[in-house]
Amino acid sequence: MDEPRPLVSLRGVSLGYSEAVLRDVDLTIRPGDLIGMAGPNGSGKTTLFRAILGLLPILNGSLERDCLLSDFGYVPQSTSLDAIFPLTAGELIEMGSYGRLRPYQRMPVEEKEKAKKSLDQVGLSHLAAKSFFSLSGGQRQRILIARALMVDPKILILDEPLSGVDQDSRTAITELLIKLNREDRLAIFFSSHDLEMVRTVADKILRVDKGKTWWEKEGPLSS
């Protein structure tokens, strides 16, 4: 059977800021992929995500996307969001629809329904009116996943979704990711510094360390 066209492909990509953090990255994400990226803190996982999302220009190589930037559902680490903002979980999820709304447009009923459905998907519909920053780490991550689902994504990108999350929430989140991938054929690319967790969830595992990337079955490339 023919493989579907890649949604994202990176060939020999170097990326970083003033100097390269990661070199020679080869990566292909296709519809239905469930890819985990494992590596220690500071190894460049977030840098790779930012390059894929167009937030950081690549230094070398080629990066191709067969989808719009608005087709990415991005789940940042909840700790990267500023708690000074007064936001309910419902308001935060509605942000996922902002790309489809004109500036002066009232939020249509169908978007509200969609937000409700996204909350149902992550099993937190009872928390819509709660303050986002008053929720537990796990609940916050699931709300952020619901926001990403609200975008109608082709790819879900999650930056350390299990960081600072209790065991019950870890289970709930990993089950949710598997369900979204298996049932909705959603391409998922997530990162974690917990290799065992990545092995449990992902079909393919990209290892990142010391400026290099390699697929787990292949072992690190010699420089």
Binding site: L81, M95, K130, R147
Partner: protein, 482 residues
């Protein structure tokens, strides 16, 4: 004394000022909310200061004759300077921020200090009109004309529309810049739009209300609202509501207690912040309800808190006819002489009642008016200096007044008046503090007394002398009408 209901009446003379103040209270917190959430609150402090420097700069140029062909009122010139400096300052700060060198707070602190220093220097350079410039920089909303109110409504109406229409874009660009990039393609446009709205509000607001009040309206209502809400919609709504409450209570207290509006509003705003943090310990939802309930209770009690002052009694009511009308004592540091252009003086000169070197004072005007009204109340008025030329003005202090009256061999009743404050501001109103007493000399009993402390509106006055004349008329009307 004005009650809330009187102040809310559009026919109330200071209603335009209340309207202007409320518009600022409604809109500024919406802009300030984003400054706080973006952690750029010091920008809200620095920009008004820069705008103030622009006002002083424009006046200096005007004084040097460099803007003589520009036309327009003083406020128009100040507004041009304020806008120019605000947007130049924003551009420069934005450029330095983009370069990313140095501390953001350090740049803002340096800009604030520089703007403050330049404001003072521009005022010092300007040999004339220092008082006017200081008055404009103080930003007396109370002196706004109807035309200026229309400008204010136009500008802040546009800012309000911008903040409401683009609320989602501003929120996204402020809260999650990565998601904003993915969904909207970038943040630069929305950053510029937000700062343009902030700059416009600050530049126009400073010339209308002064840097202090604008910074207060930008920051205090959102700070008070923040601990009481969970969501962004309720945060913006409550910020605006508290801004309007701050404007109303501040205005009411300012008029009622004769306090300067800017500091009064800011003090009320600070009280709201303390109250909000106290109430927030209950819970955010019930806290907001308690906050609004307290405000409503104070409002209701203020509406019903009309204090009726007793008018000067009729002569027959106190069984006396003979009344000594003492000279009005001037306890201000000012001479309170009316300008030579005073038409009343010219008339008196024409009919030969006064010599051409005599200059009438506020005290003379007040005493003449009192005499006329007291005679209509059935009193036979005598002047102490006609009995003994050594008589000077009697103080309002009962003991001192009685002692002097007895030493001068007066008996019966004496009417004393003392002016403690008389400041004509922009010819639109006169801030007064005057005390009156009707004293029985024999036993030192005070039969009636009244203290008038307020800003007396003089909207139709075309010069300082006429403003004082109108104020005297209004005060005497107050005394005798109750």
């Amino acid at each position: 004394m004005q009650t809330f209901l009187e102040i809310l009446n559009p026919s109330f003379l200071l209603f335009p000022a209340l309207l202007g103040s409320s518009v600022l209270g409604l809109v500024c917190p919406l802009v300030g909310a984003y400054l706080i959430l973006r952690r750029t609150v010091f920008l809200g402090l620095t920009l008004p200061q820069i705008a103030g420097a622009g006002v002083a700069f424009a006046f200096w140029l005007h004084q040097m004759g460099l803007l003589s062909n520009m036309g327009g009122s003083e406020r128009t010139i100040g507004m041009a300077g304020s806008l120019l400096f605000t947007f130049l300052g924003m551009g420069l700060l934005g450029y330095l921020e983009h370069r990313g060198k140095g501390l953001s707070e350090g740049r803002l602190a340096a800009a604030y200090s520089l703007a403050g220093a330049l404001t003072i220097l521009f005022i010092v350079f300007n040999p004339a009109g220092e008082v006017e410039i200081l008055s404009l920089l103080k930003g007396e909303v109370i002196a706004l004309s109807r035309t200026e109110i229309k400008i204010l409504l136009g500008v802040f109406g546009s800012v309000l529309a911008g903040v409401l229409l683009f609320r989602r874009e501003f929120l996204l660009a402020s809260f999650d810049r990565d998601l904003a990039f993915l969904l909207k393609g970038g943040n630069l446009f929305w950053d510029i739009a937000l700062y343009l709205l902030a700059g416009l509000s600050i530049a126009i607001g400073v010339i209308m209300a002064g840097p202090l009040l604008i910074f207060g309206f930008l920051v205090l209502p959102p700070l008070a609202a923040r601990p009481l809400v969970r969501g962004m919609t309720s945060f913006l709504s409550l910020s605006s509501l508290l801004g309007v409450l701050m404007a109303f209570f501040g205005f009411y207290l300012s008029v009622r207690l004769d306090l300067p509006l800017g500091p009064t509003d800011v003090t009320v705003g600070c009280c709201l912040v303390f109250l909000a943090y106290g109430i927030s310990r209950i819970s955010s939802r019930s806290g907001a309800a308690v906050m609004v309930s307290i405000a409503a209770t104070v409002l209701m009690s203020s509406c019903s808190a009309r204090v009726t002052e007793a008018p000067v009694p009729e002569a027959k009511a106190i069984h006396a006819e003979q009344l000594w009308l003492a000279k009005v004592k001037n306890s201000t540091a000012l001479s309170l002489l009316l300008p030579a252009t005073n038409p009343l003086r010219s008339l008196a000169e024409m009919v030969g009642k006064i010599s051409s070197d005599y200059r009438q004072s506020v005290m003379d005007l007040l005493r003449d008016s009192l005499k006329t009204e007291l005679e209509q109340r059935g009193f036979r008025i005598s002047l102490p200096e006609e009995k003994d030329a050594r008589f000077v003005a009697l103080p309002a202090d009962t003991g001192a007044a009685v002692r002097v009256a007895r030493e001068g061999k007066l008996s019966g009743l004496v009417f004393t008046s003392e002016i403690r404050r008389w400041e004509v501001e922009a010819q639109k109103f006169v801030r007064v503090l005057v005390e009156f007493k009707l004293i029985r000399i024999d036993d030192g009993a005070v039969l009636w007394e009244r203290r008038i402390q307020r800003a007396v509106p003089t909207p139709s006055a075309t010069n300082v002398g006429q403003a004082s004349t109108d104020a005297v008329r209004a005060i005497v009307h107050d005394l005798f009408a109750g």
